[in-house]
């Protein structure tokens, strides 16, 4: 490293301090956004839990083979829905999940299956679009203000149609999910065919009555279920994103603190050095005058 003058060093310290100010501000903003995202997340859980309960009740009473969304086919063509963030600066948030997706894709391709992608969030879209993957559709600016339910609905609709038209035989959903309040990780789930465990309890002789036409009703519930599952995945991802960014910015702020300390030390040393040199000069000169 070339030798820096004390003034250069001071400038450098100032630069680091400025960066620190920015990362610190971003941390605070992310913390606020995280709180809001978590509120939405926790508020959405009862609905999806009850919806799941309802679909389970329903699935116990119908003939699964009769419904196209339950159809188990041999996987020849596979769709992957990947949910990433729109923005970076969130540590390994995007790169981890993109790697998870790539692993799944190459695994499926090795088995000779075609893989098509549906990308929600700009980061994933930018990444896969450039690399010659088949992208059915990509969405940008999904997480701008609030998680957009209309995007979830649209994606679910595309997927449903593709599945029923047999353009795809299985659909996987990959998103980051909050495991605990302070931990997230990428999760891969089978989205279609609808995967609901057989009812655990015996509903001996109990048959559901439907006031409305059974098939329309069932379609409606399944649509709602899929839309909401996707929405929930997006909400989870959104909370995890803010969490990841908050942690990343916290680390960056701490690193900046350390750097400031380190460079202040170097600065002090350099200053001391120049003082010592001057002293030696003066003393030397005084000695010579004798």
């Amino acid at each position: 490293m070339p030798k820096l003058s004390p003034r250069d060093i001071r400038r450098k310290i100032q630069g680091i301090k400025n960066t620190r100010r920015i990362t610190n501000a971003m941390k605070v903003v992310s913390a606020a956004k995280l709180r809001k995202a978590q509120e939405i997340l926790y508020a959405s859980r009862p609905y999806s839990d009850k919806l799941y309960e309802l679909v389970k009740d329903l699935a116990a009473h119908i003939d699964r083979d009769a419904h196209p969304l339950f159809a188990e086919r041999e996987e020849k063509s596979v769709d992957v829905i990947l949910i990433t963030a729109d923005r970076g600066l969130a540590g390994a948030f995007n790169s981890n999940i993109i790697r998870t997706a790539e692993n799944l894709i190459s695994e499926k391709e090795e088995q000779g299956k075609r893989v098509n992608l549906l990308l929600v969030g700009r980061k994933g879209f930018n990444y896969f679009e450039k690399r010659g993957y088949t992208v059915v559709k990509g969405y940008d600016e999904v997480f701008r203000k609030e998680v957009r339910f209309d995007v979830a609905r649209e994606v679910a609709e595309i997927i449903r149609e593709r599945f029923i038209d047999e353009k795809t035989d299985a659909v996987y959903l990959i998103n980051n999910e909050m495991i605990t309040r302070a931990n997230y990780k990428p999760i891969v789930r089978k989205f279609l065919p609808v995967d609901i465990p057989e009812a655990e309890y015996e509903l001996a002789g109990s048959v559901y009555t439907f006031e409305v036409d059974e098939e329309t009703f069932f379609n409606k519930i399944l649509d709602l279920y899929l839309n909401y599952q996707l929405y929930r995945a997006m909400v989870e991802s959104n909370a995890a994103e803010h969490f990841a960014r908050m942690v990343a910015m916290d680390n960056a702020t701490r690193n900046a603190d350390e750097l400031v300390k380190e460079w202040t030390m170097i600065f002090n040393k350099a200053r001391q050095e120049s003082i010592t040199l001057e002293l030696i000069d003066i003393v030397g000169a005084a000695e010579a005058m004798k």
């Binding site: 959405s44 009862p46 609905y47 009850k50 309802l54 009740d57 329903l58 009555t209 439907f210």
Partner: protein, 131 residues
């Protein structure tokens, strides 16, 4: 006693054990007592009320109802206590729906706005009724 849960996408709106519950459905209104037969149907905008007491109801919009002998699950797009309905908002939605219906072209659009209109109307009626 029978457990009633009313949930909306924005959270749990109501959860309690009650003696009986009345629910507005696509075919009319159903009264549910403990031990009711299994029933699933579509929810219609209206008032869900408990123990035969209309005063203390919850206004619901479109959704689904799942009735089993032990529980009633109501999934609604929105749910409010009657006292906390925003009339101004409902009125705005109603007017928008009427406007959109006048220019709607596809069946889907008409269906969608018809739903909004119906919902807003019911909410406004409820406020009027319990004023």
């Amino acid at each position: 006693m029978i457990t009633v849960d009313i949930v909306t996408p924005t959270g749990l709106a109501f959860s309690k054990e009650v003696e009986s519950v009345n629910v507005p459905t696509a075919e009319g209104e159903i009264g549910v007592l403990p031990g009711h037969m299994y029933l699933m149907t579509l929810l219609k905008p209206g008032l869900v009320y408990f123990n035969g007491n209309e005063e203390d109801g919850i206004a619901v919009t479109h959704g689904v109802v799942d009735v089993t002998p032990q529980k009633v699950i109501i999934l609604s797009e929105e749910a409010y206590e009657v006292g906390s309905i925003d009339v101004g908002e409902a009125k705005k939605e109603f007017e928008e729906a009427v406007r959109k219906l006048a220019t709607a072209h596809t069946m889907e659009e008409i269906e969608q706005w018809q739903k909004v209109k119906e919902k807003a109307e019911v909410l406004m009626d409820l406020v009027e009724r319990f004023k």
